[in-house]
């Protein structure tokens, strides 16, 4: 058993479990940097997990399906942005509304599309894997670097961060804050769509209702713990990947499966508490000078 934890297969298992959370964590991060808490990740992920299998069934190509899914994810981000920014809906309530719509909408859509209830039974094309590593995992790791460069080395990234830091100050130097927040939320939707796509087209090879099972929420926590930076978020998402992969291995032992299922959520909760406490202590120390 312990030998297993140090094998290459186990590293691959960790990467596999990390991938969907990592995409969603990056999505949460870019929204948070623009000053918006995107709790709709859970719903966007679920929607996109379904879109992924439907598009790959229709087009027969994983790449086309991925691109179309990303477009849909971006559109949901756009809708969310319209409600939050133009109609001034509370961001949490708007997200809850999208999550509810996703829970019901995916079941309805799946039924209308194929007559399947609860999980997809039609043929799909999943993203290819090389030596056990899915191409989406590689993309997720690449996106960490891309998002880091985007946020910290491009003018648009600087604008996003300045809007999140202080909206009024950003506007006073001529940045159109609403437009920037729109871009951030659409980008957040696209990133999250990749995570949703991977869930049903790589992690699993079919869609099951509510298959995201809290990953969008975990990503919110992960991003917060990583100070909403791509690299920090990556480190924390990896931690959850490890927790989940260890949990998957422990299912082969006699430990009750219900307790194992708690591991990712308990890790998140404890991690969040410790992290927040450390941040608060550091702030207090700085305040004392």
């Amino acid at each position: 058993m312990f030998r297993l934890f140090f094998s290459l297969d186990f590293v691959i298992a960790i990467l596999r479990a990390t991938t969907p959370i990592l995409f969603a964590t990056l999505a949460a991060g870019v929204a948070a940097k623009a000053g918006i808490c995107n709790m709709a990740l859970e719903g966007i992920m679920l929607f996109c997990a379904l879109f992924g299998v439907i598009f790959s069934h229709i087009t027969g190509s994983w790449l086309v399906a991925l691109v179309l899914t990303c477009v849909c994810g971006g559109l949901i981000g756009l809708v969310l942005a319209f409600f939050i920014l133009n109609l001034k809906t509370d961001e949490i309530l708007a997200a809850i509304a999208i999550n509810l719509t996703a829970t019901g909408g995916t079941v309805l859509l799946l039924l209308a599309f194929s007559g399947d209830r609860g999980s997809s039974t039609f043929s799909t094309v999943s993203a290819p894997a090389f030596g056990g590593v899915n191409i989406m995992t590689v993309l997720a790791l690449l996106m960490v670097a891309v998002m880091h460069l985007f946020l910290y080395k491009t003018p648009l990234g600087l604008q996003i961060r300045s809007v999140g830091e202080n909206k009024n100050a950003a506007e006073s130097v001529g940045i159109k804050s609403i437009r920037i927040q729109y871009i951030a939320l659409i980008l957040s939707g696209v990133l999250c769509a990749c995570g949703g796509y991977f869930l049903s087209g790589g992690y699993m090879n079919s869609f099951t209702k509510n298959m995201q099972s809290g990953r969008g929420f975990i990503a919110l926590a992960a991003s917060e713990m990583g100070a909403n930076t791509p690299v920090g978020g990556f480190a924390v998402a990896m931690l959850f990947g490890i927790a989940q992969a260890v949990g998957n291995q422990l299912q082969l032992t006699s430990i009750p499966v219900e307790l194992i299922q708690m591991i990712p959520y308990a890790t998140t909760l404890i991690g969040l508490a410790v992290f927040s406490y450390l941040v608060r202590r550091r702030k207090e120390k700085l305040a004392q000078g």
Binding site: L87, I92, L100, A221, Y265, L272, A273
Partner: protein
């Protein structure tokens, strides 16, 4: 009633109308028998006495979680743990009903009190975490909901499982069950507890000193601090009370005639429904029964629709989603609002001019 309030009510009904129209459009898109489906959804609950009774049964748990969320949100704490508190309340009530052999009359009361205590403890956890470490209560509450689910499933599978019944507990003893109010239906004593809870919740929130402090702390933290309100205490109390109500709701639901055994192995979504109810009731517990009645009617209609046609129950979740989106969109219909208020003001001016 002033123009602004009248407008709020108008906007609420308009939001509900649009949400229903969206759902009807969806039904037309997915169904081969759309007209039958819509008729079943809208008029189904009125078709028989049993269906109407189903509406009232479905309303009871919604009143509890709705009231709980109103109290928690009034302190401006985005605590979403009412979902887990409801689940835990159900488990605690069922487990103690099975393990403590108490006489009829006392048994339900003891089980419900324990369920409420469990719910209070549960929703206080994110609040305590926030006070002690500064961690976001929203993220923490999302996580502990899953912990509640798996903890309850663990207890079910290893301590109260009836091996002869699949994933279900032993049959709950008759002595612990809530009595039925009307014979021939499953409308139970929980309805009275629910309505009393809504009234007491209103009194607590809008007519007590604590409730006043709580709402001030929720709407303007700086002002509350300045006027000497102990914010930490107020937040903690609001989360304890809200969670107790949600836990009580779970207990009432599992001890109702609807269930014979504890069978919950996935989250039931009452916590999320509660947010719809809280939105519709504008954070006033007294209005939660009306909002719950509306949602329960929609639910019952949807389940009749799902039984008799090819449309699934889940349409209702979309309706709920659209209602929330529009009902809380501040700028939605803002031009109409402006017109109504301007007209009112003009009328008032003219009146004064005449006098």
């Amino acid at each position: 009633m002033n123009a602004e309030k009248r407008f709020e009510i108008f906007r609420l009904f308009f939001s509900i109308l649009i949400a229903l129209l969206v759902s009807f459009a969806l039904i037309f898109m997915v169904s081969k028998q759309p007209v039958d489906a819509i008729v079943a959804l809208v008029t189904g609950p009125f078709k028989s006495g049993r269906n109407l009774a189903n509406v009232v049964e479905a309303m009871i748990p919604l009143i509890f979680t709705g009231t709980g969320v109103c109290i928690m949100f009034a302190a401006n704490q985005i605590n979403l743990a009412s979902e887990g508190a409801f689940h835990l309340g159900g488990l605690v009530a069922a487990a103690f009903a099975l393990k403590l052999a108490l006489p009829a009359g006392i048994a339900p009361a003891v089980c419900l009190i324990l369920a409420a205590a469990a719910g209070a403890f549960f929703t206080a956890l994110p609040a305590i975490l926030k006070i002690k470490t500064g961690a976001s209560e929203m993220v923490a509450s999302l996580m502990i909901n899953y912990l509640s689910l798996w903890f309850c499933t663990f207890i079910l599978m290893h301590f109260i499982l009836d091996p002869a019944a699949g994933a279900a507990s032993y049959t709950l003893p008759k002595t612990a069950k809530l009595i039925t109010l009307f014979s021939g239906t499953r409308i139970h004593f929980g309805l009275i507890i629910a309505l009393a809870t809504a009234v007491l919740g209103h009194v607590f929130l809008y007519q007590s000193k604590m409730g006043y402090e709580l709402r001030i702390a929720g709407s303007n933290k700086q002002f509350a601090e300045y006027s000497g309100i102990d914010i930490v205490k107020v937040i903690l109390i609001s989360q304890l009370v809200g969670g107790a109500v949600a836990g009580l709701g779970g207990g009432v639901e599992i001890l109702s005639p609807i269930y014979n055994r504890f069978t919950w192995t996935s989250l039931l979504g009452y916590g999320w429904d509660a947010i719809v109810i809280c939105t519709l009731a504008k954070k006033d517990p007294l209005k939660t029964p009306i909002a719950a009645l509306f949602l329960a009617y929609l639910r019952t209609g949807a389940s009749i629709m799902a039984r008799t046609t090819d449309v699934t129950l889940e349409v209702v979740q979309i309706t709920q989603g659209v209602i929330i989106l529009l009902a809380v969109a501040e700028q939605f219909l803002s031009k109409t609002k402006h017109r109504i208020i301007a007209r009112e003001a003009k009328a008032a001016l003219q009146k004064e001019g005449v006098a």
